[in-house]
């Protein structure tokens, strides 16, 4: 069996918080934000792994670690079997042609002072030392594949719409024919119709060029369409991973169920429902042992609060791994049970004298 294209093994990324005097002198334990905690994922050649999560899940951090924008605090990153975590300097820069990134903010990720051809050809020019004419020709060839007219080479990014800028980002990423593209929230700044266009195009490009995607997003529908496998993250850890159809139709982990139940659908029957999962998403500093979703989980038991759950197989769900103590018990629960009927006015848990408008 060939090695997967990308493999991370127990990768962690901690961000230290400003140290107090006692921490500095070793009296108190240093405090870290556990952005990513011992995450192991694999991405195969030409496949799309969707990484779903909300804010604080660590999905963007993981994407940046994988593309070596930032260094991991612990763990190994293997690309085509080789450890790339220790690459530095020119070797790292040469490796960059394998992994490119499409960033979240289409405005911020394009230098406003540079023209389109300069922006899109930058990776090419750095890796292959092309002349100006060669670079322009390359860009002119590349632009139609992302749906842009080939003669906008001398325009500036601010002259394009949001969808157009996103396409420029994609074109830039494709310019060196990378084997893996990390897509960081490619749809969040776009309207629904434009999202569909972009996703269609991404899938088509993947088939044409056999490029793998790490699709990082909170948009479940985008992952449903574009991904082959999906990993769900919560507070720095992977809680569930499996084939996209399986995970989204029969989620096992309570958080996955909560996520799927929360997505608003154009279904008029949902008007009379209320969402049962409560609680905020905390920031984790030196997390305590136990499942991190325990404070909010509708299925929580005592073990959950004290013992860390491990990512493990679940009988009856081939190809799936779930980090939940009660995986077998809750596997069959449908996400729609997390939507309860809206309480009638008499049962409403509010103050008895409800203020009325003037």
């Amino acid at each position: 069996m060939t090695a997967p294209l990308l493999e991370t093994e127990s990768v962690s990324k901690y961000y230290p918080i400003l140290r107090s005097a006692s921490e500095y002198f070793g009296r108190a334990a240093p405090r870290n934000v556990h952005a990513v905690d011992a995450v192991s994922i694999t991405v195969g050649t030409g496949e799309t792994l969707g990484l779903i999560g909300e804010s604080g899940s660590g999905k963007t951090t993981l994407g940046w670690v994988v593309s070596r924008i930032i260094d991991p605090t612990a763990g190994t990153i293997r690309f085509e079997g080789t450890d790339v975590g220790s690459l530095r300097g020119p070797a790292l820069r040469a490796w960059r042609r394998n992994v490119q990134v499409v960033f979240q903010d289409p405005i911020d990720s394009l230098d406003p002072q540079l023209k389109v051809w300069q922006i899109v050809s930058e990776p090419m020019r750095v890796q292959e030392h092309l002349s100006r004419a060669e670079a322009r020709a390359g860009v002119a060839e590349l632009l139609p594949t992302v749906g842009l007219p080939p003669d906008c080479l001398d325009q500036f990014p601010h002259e394009f719409s949001g969808g157009g800028r996103q396409r420029l980002s994609v074109a830039r990423a494709l310019s060196v024919n990378p084997k893996l593209i990390v897509l960081d929230e490619p749809t969040s700044a776009l309207d629904v119709a434009v999202q569909a266009q972009v996703l269609n195009r991404l899938v088509r490009l993947q088939k044409e060029r056999d490029v793998a995607y790490l699709l990082i997003t909170h948009n479940v529908a985008a992952v449903r369409y574009a991904a082959d496998r999906v990993a769900v993250m919560y507070l720095g850890q992977i809680v569930e991973v499996g084939g996209v159809r399986d995970v989204l139709e029969r989620p096992v982990h309570p958080y996955t169920k909560a996520l799927i139940a929360a997505v608003p659908l154009p279904d008029v029957r949902r008007r009379r429902t209320r969402y049962r999962v409560t609680g905020e998403i905390p920031t984790l500093i030196n997390p305590k042992p136990g499942c991190r979703f325990a404070p909010r989980c509708p299925f929580v038991v005592d073990t959950c609060r004290t013992v860390d759950p491990e990512l493990r197989d679940v009988p009856g769900f081939p190809g799936r791994q779930v980090a939940c103590h009660r995986a077998e018990d809750v596997a069959g629960v449908d996400p729609s049970t997390l939507l309860a009927p809206l309480a009638s006015a008499t049962e409403a848990s509010g103050p008895s004298s409800v203020p009325r408008p003037a």
Partner: protein, 357 residues
């Protein structure tokens, strides 16, 4: 008001096929729009142009604007108030004030430029280094800390006092004064540039360049400098005035730095120094150079203000003419087309391309 919907996407007019004249025309048109919209900056621009023209004339053809050499030529018109023959009057021994004031123009202006350019280049470079390579516990971090602390020391003193102190300690003479002001001036640019670099270096396009494999130095000079330069240029333009004032004041305070009156050079500060005692009797001798300083500083300040509007990308976008043709969605249901051109504005903001709407 509505546009035609052509059957095929119309090619964007912008492109290498445009002639050079049209390409140059774009920034000039932009400049014109800015100046027209902001009347004060138009005044500043006109004044600066006049100043530059006058400087050139003084240098090349002084007689055209009535500057008569030798400058210290006494005449019979002793202590005359401004008149047709002597637009700024004369001093007690009949020297023409106007010629001296105008002759000082290239002197003051070129010295101020030299000082400001030095400060910009030297201070700016230090600011780039201090802002960009500042991760703690690295060599770059240590260097940047050193640069910043030195800058802090210089900035702790009021610039005029510091310039005076340095000038006096270096000895008397014009080069010493110039060096003194240069040494006083570079820290302001270091601080300014460093601040801008700090805000730019975390933008995603810098990260994107890193992902593309661009080396750090290249990132600094290709991406960071370009995006940092705008506020710096604005500051520089307005700074010229401040430099002139500082330089003139130092010359004014320290006796005998420049000899006045001399045959072929003059300087505003030394003129004021020379005539300050006779101010009540012959006010024009002091007012003329003083007014010259004031007007020069004012013009550059106004121009700098207008430049800020030109260089700020958001207002620049709003002012740019967008009469280029754009591809409307073709009538046949082809693949998605791209419409270039700014999108609609959002309530509550200057027109910008994003935002809820």
């Amino acid at each position: 008001m509505a546009s035609k919907t052509p059957r095929v996407p119309v090619a964007l007019a912008a492109g290498p096929s445009r002639s050079a004249i049209v390409r140059v025309g774009r920034p000039l048109r932009l400049l014109w729009r800015v100046l027209r919209s902001n009347p004060l900056s138009l005044v500043g621009f006109v004044l600066v142009v006049l100043i530059v023209v006058a400087t050139a004339l003084v240098y090349l053809a002084p007689a055209v604007i009535g500057v008569h050499y030798p400058l210290n030529q006494p005449s019979n018109a002793l202590g005359q108030p401004p008149s047709w023959a002597h637009p700024f009057g004369t001093d007690p021994i009949g020297i023409d004030i106007y010629s001296n004031v105008m002759a000082a123009l290239p002197v003051d202006l070129s010295i101020a430029f030299a000082i400001a350019v030095f400060a910009l280049v030297f201070g700016g470079l230090l600011g780039l280094v201090a802002g960009f390579w500042d991760t703690r516990r690295t060599l770059g971090g240590a260097v940047s800390v050193v640069i910043l602390r030195i800058t802090d020391v210089f900035l702790a003193f009021p610039s005029l006092i510091l310039a005076l102190a340095i000038a006096v300690s270096l000895g008397r003479g014009v080069p010493q004064v110039i060096i003194a002001v240069m040494l006083t001036w570079w820290p302001y640019y270091t601080r300014l540039v460093r601040g801008e670099v700090l805000s730019v270096k975390h933008r995603q396009y810098v990260t994107a360049a890193r992902v593309a494999g661009v080396s750090e130095t290249r990132i600094l000079f290709r991406h960071v400098v370009r995006n940092v330069i705008e506020p710096v240029v604005v500051y520089f333009t307005m700074d010229i005035g401040t430099v002139i004032v500082t330089f003139s004041t130092v010359v004014f305070v320290i006796p005998n730095v420049i000899s006045f009156p001399s045959t072929n050079t003059s300087e505003w500060g030394v003129m004021i120094q020379n005539y300050q005692d006779s101010f009540s009797a012959l006010p024009w001798t002091v007012l003329a150079p003083g007014l010259a300083i004031f007007l020069t500083v004012l013009s550059f300040s106004l121009l700098g203000d207008g430049l800020r509007d030109v260089l700020d990308p958001r207002t620049r976008r709003a002012m740019l003419e967008t009469r280029r043709l754009e591809p409307a969605a073709p009538v046949e249901k082809a693949e998605e087309a791209e419409s270039a051109g700014p999108a609609a504005p959002v309530p509550g903001t200057v027109p910008d391309v994003t935002g809820p709407s």
